[in-house]
Symmetry: C2
């Protein structure tokens, strides 16, 4: 493993980068803003994908696949959409290279210029709604509930591994409905699916809320969000679900005949989460020794490290460990026995701490004698000796306990870092000294929203769906309002 990573207290941002690299999760590539997701990082994403995919299917959605490329003219069909995405997209202008007549390499063949440029999808509403026009004729074709797992590209200028990259992996749901009510219900249903996933799998507590008008998705009438709080007191927008009204149906002329034979535009939603979630997972639980993973998403649940002085001890431990490995596997536990001779136990301990493996078992000659194992938890560093008996059952319980502990710890952190304020001075003081979510009243105007952003660099993360409907005075304008919103600095 070599030297340690930067501590969180020293430099949170550097700690994050060190951890991502050191734990073998991802790294920068030769292409500006694009990352390489390494096998261990990808295994976490695969686990996330598998659970989300199951949840989407259980709520009636099917997967499909639409083209990577979007004709340039499609973007312009929805006015807000083109505003939002034209500024940061990869543009394909040619379809061939040729040998450089003046050198060794290849150059773009000027004769292979496209008549209309293609955009690498930053999101797929336009190309998908262009297909939906042919798929939807009658109310019998609705609802259309489709999801796509894909890569998308947004030409971000400042990138960070997982959190903001030019290319990222995500899923995007795109649904079509006969009624406004049904579409609104779908967009709410999916933000709750995301919240369920975040809390019950990532052990990351989230606030479900609505974005303000200025923060809505380009083309949406309502944008719901789940907002999580990272350990440095900054918020992470972790998933969004949009009610799109008639916007894309009108832009792509998608109508259906209702039960009375009348032609109507279709209502729609879209919703997505991305590899950014891996960044959120890291920043919710990890510590100065590396990654801490909730068991439900960990690629390895339990690692077993043998401790021995000679070959005889080693082979006795091997045999003992083989039995344990088998028992754990049979009980659904992902286990790794690391009997690599080239690394000392201490080195291995540090390595699996860095990788965030929830439970480590150490087995030495004395454990064998007494039919014991040493069990160490990654989350609390607690160690204890357990008897070999019913080990799988005990470890499964412990994995659940770790999962719960991580969630509770993160939730307590969020509670401790959510502060209600009633003046802008108080707001600034809390933001500077404590960070976290700040609850305050807002009059609903763009002006007040902008004023706070300019003065504090914190913005409105969301208008929480759960509200006590209390009345109060706007921080900026002093007007009475019942909008109590959540502010924070954010990633």
């Amino acid at each position: 493993m070599g030297k340690k990573i930067t501590s969180k207290s020293e430099d949170y941002s550097q700690w994050y980068n060190d951890l991502v690299l050191k734990a073998g999760l991802a790294e920068h590539s030769a292409v500006r803003g694009c990352m390489v997701i390494k096998p261990y990082g990808f295994a976490i994403w695969e686990n996330m994908k598998a659970e989300l995919d199951r949840m989407f299917k259980e709520t009636g959605h099917s997967n499909a696949y639409f083209p990577l490329f979007i004709p340039k003219s499609f973007l312009s069909k929805e006015a807000a959409h083109v505003e939002g995405f034209a500024k940061e997209c990869a543009v394909i202008t040619h379809y061939r290279l040729k040998k450089d007549p003046d050198g060794d390499g290849v150059i773009v063949d000027p004769e292979a210029k496209l008549e209309e440029e293609l955009i690498v999808r930053p999101t797929s509403e336009t190309i998908i709604w262009n297909s939906y026009r042919n798929w939807i004729q009658s109310y019998r074709d609705l609802p259309l509930l489709i999801n796509q797992w894909a890569n998308v590209v947004r030409w971000e200028m400042r990138t960070r591994l997982f959190l903001r990259t030019a290319e990222f992996l995500w899923q995007e749901g795109h649904t079509a409905h006969a009624t406004k009510e049904e579409a609104m219900e779908e967009s709410l249903k999916m933000i709750h699916v995301y919240a369920d996933f975040a809390e019950n799998f990532m052990a990351m507590p989230v606030v479900i809320g609505e974005k303000t008008e200025s923060e809505r998705f380009a083309g949406a009438e309502i944008t719901y969000t789940i907002e999580a709080l990272m350990q440095d007191g900054k918020a992470l927008q972790s998933g969004t679900s949009h009610y799109l009204g008639h916007n894309f149906a009108k832009a792509f002329d998608v109508k259906f005949t209702d039960e009375n034979g009348k032609e109507e535009y279709v209502y729609s939603t879209s919703w997505g989460v991305s590899t950014r979630l891996v960044g959120g997972l890291i920043m919710t639980h990890s510590d100065d020794n590396g990654l801490v993973l909730p068991p439900r998403l960990a690629p390895i649940h339990v690692v077993i490290v043998p401790i021995f002085k000679n070959d005889e001890q080693k082979s006795a431990i091997d045999e003992y460990a083989d039995g344990i490995v088998k028992e754990l596997k049979d009980n659904g536990i992902k286990v790794k026995y690391d009997d690599d001779d080239n690394k000392r136990p201490g080195f291995k301990f540090a390595e699996y701490e860095m990788m965030g493996v929830p439970i480590r078992l150490a087995i030495g000659p004395r454990d064998l004698e007494n039919s014991n194992v040493e069990v160490a938890r990654r989350d609390t560093y607690e160690k204890k000796i357990e008897s070999r008996e019913n080990l799988a059952q005990k470890l499964n319980l412990l994995l659940e306990e770790i999962q719960d502990n991580l969630f509770n710890k993160a939730k307590k952190y969020r509670e401790d870092h959510t502060t209600s304020v009633s003046s802008i001075d108080e707001f600034k003081e809390v933001l500077e000294k404590k960070g976290g979510f700040i609850e305050a009243f807002w009059d609903g105007s763009n002006e007040s929203e902008e004023a706070i952003k300019t003065q504090t660099k914190a913005d409105i993360r969301c208008i929480p769906l759960k509200s006590d409907n209390a009345e109060g005075k706007c921080l900026i304008s002093g007007k009475s309002t019942n909008l109590k919103v959540l502010f924070a600095k954010a990633y």
Copy 2:
């Protein structure tokens, strides 16, 4: 469902297109050469992916993800590689659009020109080996066994749904090894994994062989292939595995220190299969009534259609069917109960035939009375009455029987359409009258290979790995040779 599809005998190519559209598998998109994979087609691909992914992991491979974009200069680093791929690639030259000052739409912002153009990956050897340089230092880092599921783009001029599209989905394995032997073994191992998948899941018999030099992957020293025979007598290259020698290691300067402290270049392989397999699956088994799917890849194993005249009958059948659905699900059978009131049973029968659902159960009032169901096979159209008792068990056996029958039928077709010839006249006659694979001797020269291609439009599909080492005379040159190869026209 509407009108029928074109028959195979009338126009095989039109039959294929009709079927792909009518069964809801895929369609053309607004982007030249790119397809939309519709939910039912994607469900088949997902099933393929799941099995292949399992097989890759069981053989020690991990998934990772590398950038979509490749710097133009990377392509030129391996001489054969750039020759093979520069002619058909999507080139990104700009990273921003702006409002058209002379119109409504958007135009490419000339100020947002990239310093170095980026290519949308046609395959990822170059971007991956550029990363491997930093990942591999010592023999302890080897072997490196990585797979990627991704989309790739090759600017094909003539495209066909699934079989050849500008963008397609695939997996690409990229492995690094300390020794030549180990790399060669890996490339052979993976072509056998593909053959196993093709035969045991797709029920598609394949010939494993080596490509001739002229047909090798651009940058490979050996290319292995699996070749399948479609029902029109044309071959489909269905998967390839390449031994790349030192080519990419040298191009990207990837060396390791061996156990004796000596620096050596790394040996490598790559291997891939794509959504083209869905095309192969369709063309191996389907008929004039639509798709025929092998049970192991079918999204739905069993569909249940109720036959009733009134609500009372309907609700009695519903209850009976519910019990069957539950029993089948509990036994791992993917079952759909189609009680849609708006479609007549005959319409549904045709619909599920089109979709290739392996087994259809029909349940009428008399079946209820006698505790029976009517069981119809998609592959043979056989119908029989079965008793309700142990139904799941019987259907699981029947699904296995269907899987075997499809494989055996396809294998018999291939055997019947594999002909040994010993003269070029005989070759031409067989090719014209019967099609299929033609076995003949070849002297190993480019000239003879080209001559046959020019004269017949059939080419060498592969030099089969299984050979009886017989001697014979080359069709063209008459020279003695022990290379008995397989010719065919191909997709």
